[in-house]
Symmetry: C2
Subunit: 387 residues, 2 copies
């Protein structure tokens, strides 16, 4: 087991009705609030009205229209508003994109340079930020319980992840996900699973706690996603998916394990940057192909895939190579059964940009440190297997 540090300063209020904590949570930091949200769904659901009702007496400035794969433009707009209005606290109401955008705004307010894209490129060097409270409406990215955010620059087709700040308070009410479409529910669940699998496929073999938590989260998604797809208002299924989302990206499921570089995420960010596809869908398409590729490239990792097949999917047997294949097949079939389009071709994506996408996914040859090292050529091959 390797050394690690645990420190999650976020207060998570989980469950039905926790929105009642909002005025106290926001009020701790001030009265001048930047309210960040996405499209119309929070208005349609009534959550927007609920929030405004609870925050009567606060001075609210709005930043609506944050898009999926949130863009630099929204960050710039938010930073400008914060400075003009003397904002004291940011309130993000929405899913991962809204919260990620808000994290970048929170840090951007203190950024001294002129070009916020430079801040995004160097994320992690500035960690001071305005306090951020969020109300989560989608179980997916885990941003409600981690310091990460991913920002897209449409001008350069770049999508860059980085370390910003933890939310101070996250309000996670599973009922807010009742109205999430089947497609987005499945995509969000693929994102949850990917966060876990990116850390699970590692060399460290003796971190029982991390592996056990990872397997628990995967089994929970495998059990609860089909229920949520059949019965969108099943509280128990929605609650489990939301809890899984938060735990999946907070690194508890990686305690004491070696750093794996998260190659599927690196590759997917290129797909989203070039084609603006849903992050979780890209991950679902890429992950089984990445798995088959690395298993073939380095059969010494078969034991880890066999463990995945046994402990997550319940397969039995002594033939580890066969088990490894069974596990990957089961994962691919699960995504298919969840209604996710499982080829890039179905999304209208061809191979024209694969070479440059591969080099962007592997800056400074970073993926030489992945669980199984990947070259640019390897990445192109994985992209091609997704067609």
């Amino acid at each position: 087991m390797l050394n690690f540090k645990h420190a999650i300063p976020t207060e998570l209020y989980f469950g039905k009705g926790q929105i009642e904590k909002l005025p106290e949570a926001v009020g701790r930091y001030g009265k001048k609030v930047l309210l960040v949200y996405g499209g119309g769904s929070v208005k349609k659901s009534g959550l927007y009205d609920t929030v405004l009702g609870l925050l009567e007496g606060f001075e609210i400035t709005e930043l609506p229209g944050v898009a999926p794969n949130p863009r630099l433009g929204s960050v710039e707009q938010g930073v400008k508003l914060c400075r003009e209005k003397g904002i004291e606290v940011i309130l993000a109401v929405g899913g991962g994109s809204t919260i990620d955008c808000s994290k970048a705004i929170a840090v951007g307010v203190y950024y001294e340079g002129d070009d916020l894209w430079e801040m995004v490129k160097g994320a992690g060097s500035v960690t001071k930020g305005l306090p951020l409270v969020d109300v989560l409406t989608l179980s997916a990215t885990g941003t409600e319980f981690d310091p990460f955010a991913v920002i897209t620059n449409p001008a350069t087709n770049e999508k860059l992840g980085g370390v910003y700040i933890y939310p101070s308070v996250s309000i996670c009410d599973p009922t807010y996900t009742f109205s999430v479409s089947a497609y987005q529910t499945a995509a969000g669940s693929a994102d949850i699973m990917s966060h876990i699998m990116e850390g699970y496929f590692a060399h460290t073999a003796d971190s029982d706690l991390a592996d056990g938590i990872a397997e628990t989260v995967l089994k929970s998604v495998i059990h609860n996603l089909p229920i949520a797809l059949r019965e969108p208002t099943n509280y128990s299924a929605r609650a489990n998916l939301m809890a899984d989302s938060s735990i999946a990206c907070c690194r508890v499921a990686e305690y004491g394990k070696d750093d794996t570089c998260w190659p599927a995420h690196a590759m997917e960010h290129e797909l989203s940057a070039y084609y603006d596809i849903t992050h979780g869908v890209g991950l679902a398409i890429l992950t089984p192909r990445w798995m088959r590729f690395i298993l073939k490239k380095d059969p010494s990792v078969t034991w880890r895939f066999a463990k995945f097949a046994r402990n997550v999917w319940g397969f039995d047997g002594d033939d580890e190579a066969a088990l490894a294949q069974q596990g990957i097949d089961a994962l691919e079939q699960f995504f298919k059964d969840s209604g996710i389009p499982m080829t890039l071709t179905e999304l209208g994506i061809g191979e024209e940009h694969f070479a440059v996408m591969a080099s962007h996914a592997n800056p400074g040859n970073m993926l030489r440190n992945a669980f199984v090292p990947l070259t640019d050529e390897d990445i192109v091959e994985i992209f091609k297997a997704c067609l």
Copy 2:
């Protein structure tokens, strides 16, 4: 799944050599340090010298001699020292007793009454405390990652748990547990398992994450304790037990589950208060008897015991009643195989105080809210089954 709140402000530095973080961690809060420790083991191991060497330039006041089942007297002494010396930060070096005692001192400094036992009785009402940094030397109570402490008043034979403060920083280096005796290693592991089992045996059936984490920790202890007993310096085994300790009591393994009142702990505190026995040993003796009693009293909870037998011990089959017994038997045998004396008789304890101990364990009939409600008479019967 029920509502819950997650907020753990403790920074945990886990692994070999993390002691190097000590000067920075203590120095954040000031230069005037109360160094709290127990008997001679930290001197024998060299840790005491390491700590003093690292804290050169700090103004150190010492409070040595904190006993297992830490006593009110040490708390009083510590509070007095803190006030006299203007202590800014408490540094606890040791196991659960030393850290628990330090938590009560930290809060006691701000207590305005004359009688610190009154503070212990009302713990939870005062939560302001001096900052606490600890260096853990025993995998057991989980106090390094929770706000709880248990203090004993030898004058009244009372041992009371309560909510104090979270440590600000916990340094958890598994190598510091290499020298822990087989007896204390087994007892500490029983404590870890008990924290998990007290929460696991609950009515909520759909909290997949909590149940899965609980089963993971139990399986980890079952796997790693025998290794640590055979090979006391096996880093991997010691590291897993230490990580299990921290996660077991921080309530992550109870997310979304109903409150179970922790009846085995309530009963064990009476054993330790009257007979000063090792907490984990008392828990190991009590737990299988408590399980058999409640299973007989309320067979409707058989499903939970069957789940325990299947997912923790790997038993198969459709006969849930038989499975339930197999799980309990396996637990009892595991404790026996770990070298724990499994009857009160072996510890020289008779039934003379059982009636009054039962009433103390059940103040205000609190255990009517347990997983299976317990009366004073039930508790006496469970104590008797332990003879």
